[in-house]
Each structure stands twice: as C-alpha cells, then as structure tokens.
C-alpha cells in the first residue's frame, strides 16, 4: 500500500494540518441485482481528458472541481494525463492509461459475462482538490445525475 512518506515534504507538511472531509452519515445503496447483471461505470480522479477537451486547470487555488464525461467507446490510449500533482510517478499512467481508467478491462469483463454491461458514459475529474465545497455541492451531484440517467448500477472509482 502507498504511504504518506512517499509524498514530497511540502505535501506531507500540508497534510499534517489538513482537515479531511468526513462523510457522516455514510450513505449505502443496496445492490439491486447480481453483479453479472449490473451496468458498471467508471470515475477516475487522474485528471484525464480526451484530445479536444479543455484540460483541467492546475493553477486554480483549491483545485479544479470540474469534470469531463468520457464516452464508453473512447480510445483509452488517447487519454491525456492532466493531473497537476507531482507527488506521484506519472510514468505508469502515461504508459498505460488503463492503470487509472480501466475502460478496456471493464469491456473485457462485460464480454466475459462477469458484469452485465459497460455504462455509456464515464467520469474524469481532478483528484488534487483541497477545497472540496464545489466538488460536493456541484460536481458530484452532476456526475450522479448523469449515472442515474444512464441507469448505472455500480460505479468503480479510481484514485491515482
């Protein structure tokens, strides 16, 4: 498992005094059908965009809370790393975007009948958000509304 000691000194100092946003109460949805029948969507916080999309703004104080919709038929290899943090090795995701946005892997599981279907649209956001107000009040509800519209049963969320 990753440890905070891997992070740069300035980040570790920042995190020492950071107040994490505690989820309370913890919502808990019931699985309505077997996984093999579920439509599954992805949410990645790797800051990925497709060519032609507006990149995430790495200069915003508190972080860029916007998100991008990634269609299910997107070429995963074309995803562009827009994550602003230099606190982790970007080499893995740049050589294989499936590492942080496993769209092809999900398609393979669907083809094998291990999940019911792949959602038509997925979500990409920037994980490096320290001021979480807009994320909670606007971005997360927008993503949720989109997934509800697409009748997604299960969402897998991938940090980086």
């Amino acid at each position: 498992m990753a440890t905070a000691s891997e992070l740069s000194l300035p980040v570790r100092v920042f995190l020492r005094g950071y107040r994490w946003r505690r989820i309370d109460p913890v919502p808990f949805a019931a699985l309505a059908r077997p996984i093999e029948e579920c439509k599954v969507g992805l949410v990645s916080s790797a800051g990925l965009v497709l060519p032609g999309m507006t990149p995430f703004d790495g200069t915003l104080r508190g972080g860029d809370s916007t998100w991008r919709s990634i269609p299910s038929d997107a070429d995963g290899a074309a995803l562009i790393d827009g994550h602003r943090s230099d606190s982790f090795d970007h080499g893995g995701m740049n050589s294989d975007p499936e590492l942080v946005f496993p769209l092809a892997r999900l398609r393979e599981l669907a083809a094998a009948g291990e999940v019911g279907a792949v959602a038509p649209r997925h979500a990409s956001c920037m994980g490096a958000i320290t001021a979480t107000g807009r994320l909670v009040k606007e971005t997360a509800p927008e993503i949720a509304d989109r997934f509800v519209e697409d009748q997604v049963d299960v969402a897998l969320l991938v940090p980086v």
Partner: protein, 87 residues
C-alpha cells in the same frame, strides 16, 4: 487528495442509489473520509491497478472491487486487497 475526492463522489453516487466501490491507496485517509465501500490496494501512488500493461492483473483488481460491491452494509465497508491477490 485523490483518495478523498473519489470518496466524496462515491458518497453522492450512493445517495442517488448507485452502489460504489472506491479504490483507496491510503488506508489512513479512507478511515478518516469514510467512503461507503472501499477496496484498499497495496500499490504505490500512481499505480492503483498495480502493473502497467498487465491486463490480467488489472482485471483481478477490478474483480476484487466488484466483490466489495456485493458485500452487505452498513458502511463504511473497508476491505484490503491482499498482497499478491489474484482476485
């Protein structure tokens, strides 16, 4: 911060009736933020599905996450993916 971000999005999805599993690279952050369902993975920052180019390994991590989706509540449910786990 990524661990918190996906946890907060997961909570909103669950409020909308969608079952979620958030991979987590830092267990300590998952314990503080409390996403509804988490799979703590034993990998480094930047490598949430382990090894670049290893499709079978990446599918195994996804299978592990899907297994957490089927676990009963109440949340937070926090599960560790065993080191070397094939599923």
């Amino acid at each position: 911060m990524c661990n918190q971000t996906v946890g907060l999005v997961a909570a909103e999805l669950e409020r909308h009736g969608i079952v979620t599993v958030a991979l987590q690279l830092l267990r300590s952050v998952a314990e503080k933020v409390r996403p509804p369902r988490s799979l703590c993975v034993p990998f480094a920052h930047g490598y949430p599905l382990d090894t670049p180019g290893d499709a079978e390994r990446q599918r195994a991590v996804l299978r592990g996450a899907l297994g957490v989706a089927a676990l009963p509540g109440p949340g937070p449910v926090l599960v560790d993916l065993p080191v070397g786990s094939g599923a």
